[in-house]
């Protein structure tokens, strides 16, 4: 039963990712991407990582994807952009990268299936993660806070409209 669930989730994740990346409408693509993330969350859960599964849903599928939704709504992308994107999805455009990717895929599949017999491990609870996170990895938490700050400042500066001073100067 459980292996079946895994393969099911894996199939859903793969299919919805492929669909997400081949849509021409950004909003549609986003829905597929969220489905894919949810499927990956199921995989996490099956792997004995319930904490990661919860975070995948809350933060990834929830928070980060909502950012995308905001931006897509704000930009209100029209039909024209969709048309152009469709143009990019003609075979002539993507055939070469796709062949490259296929080659890489075959290689990866081959390499990974060559390593054998790796099934062991046990469930890792949220508590264990927490203890280790604030133990040996405490520095990582601190640096991650700085990283988020950098993201915040960067996004604020990059995303804002022209500065007040300049607009004042023009008017």
């Amino acid at each position: 039963m459980i292996p079946f669930l895994f393969y099911m989730a894996a199939a859903i994740a793969l299919v919805s990712t492929v669909l997400a990346l081949t849509r021409s409408n950004a909003a549609h693509a986003l829905i597929y991407l969220i489905i894919s993330l949810l499927a990956v969350a199921v995989v996490f859960f099956l792997l004995g990582a319930p904490f990661a599964a919860a975070l995948e849903i809350v933060i990834y599928a929830g928070a980060i994807m909502v950012l995308f939704v905001f931006v897509i709504m704000m930009l209100n992308l029209g039909e024209e952009g969709d048309q152009r994107e469709r143009g990019w999805l003609e075979p002539g455009v993507w055939i070469v990268p796709a062949i490259l990717a296929a080659a890489l895929m075959i290689e990866t599949v081959a390499v990974i299936s060559m390593t054998e017999g790796m099934t062991s491990g046990e469930m890792v609870s949220a508590k264990a993660v927490g203890i280790k996170l604030f133990g040996p990895y405490v520095l990582a938490v601190e640096i991650a806070s700085m990283l988020l700050l950098a993201g915040l400042v960067g996004a604020y500066h990059v995303g804002r409209r022209l500065s007040e001073r300049r607009r004042g100067g023009i008017s």
Binding site: L14, V43, A52
Partner: protein, 104 residues
């Protein structure tokens, strides 16, 4: 539920496939939003591989790296989407080729 229910290589395979989907998307799409989505897929695939490996060794380290990758993804996406807004405002397009002003 506990431990690995399927061989590790199958999970890594899934991660690899997702990663390559992301990479392909990154290479063939021209719309910045889609490129950022592909980036997310790639990061998520790496995170999946970490969680799987952590589960295999029975250690929380894999999940911790997953957490860090979440932070990384959030930071990257926030700046990336900020840039998207600015690009749309400045160039009136999200197509990277059309927005290109430099030689290479």
């Amino acid at each position: 539920m506990g431990g690995l229910v399927v061989p590790l290589e199958h999970v890594l395979l899934l991660a690899g496939l997702l990663f390559i989907c992301g990479l392909t998307g990154l290479m063939i799409r021209r719309n910045v939003i889609f490129i950022l989505m592909s980036l997310e897929v790639m990061l998520n695939a790496a995170a999946l591989a970490f969680v799987a490996a952590g589960a295999y060794w029975g250690e929380p380290d894999g999940q911790i790296i997953f957490l860090l990758i979440l932070a990384v993804a959030a930071a990257e996406v926030s700046v990336g989407l900020g840039l998207v807004l600015q690009i749309q405002r400045r160039f009136k397009t999200l197509d990277l080729d059309q927005a290109s002003r430099m030689g290479g």
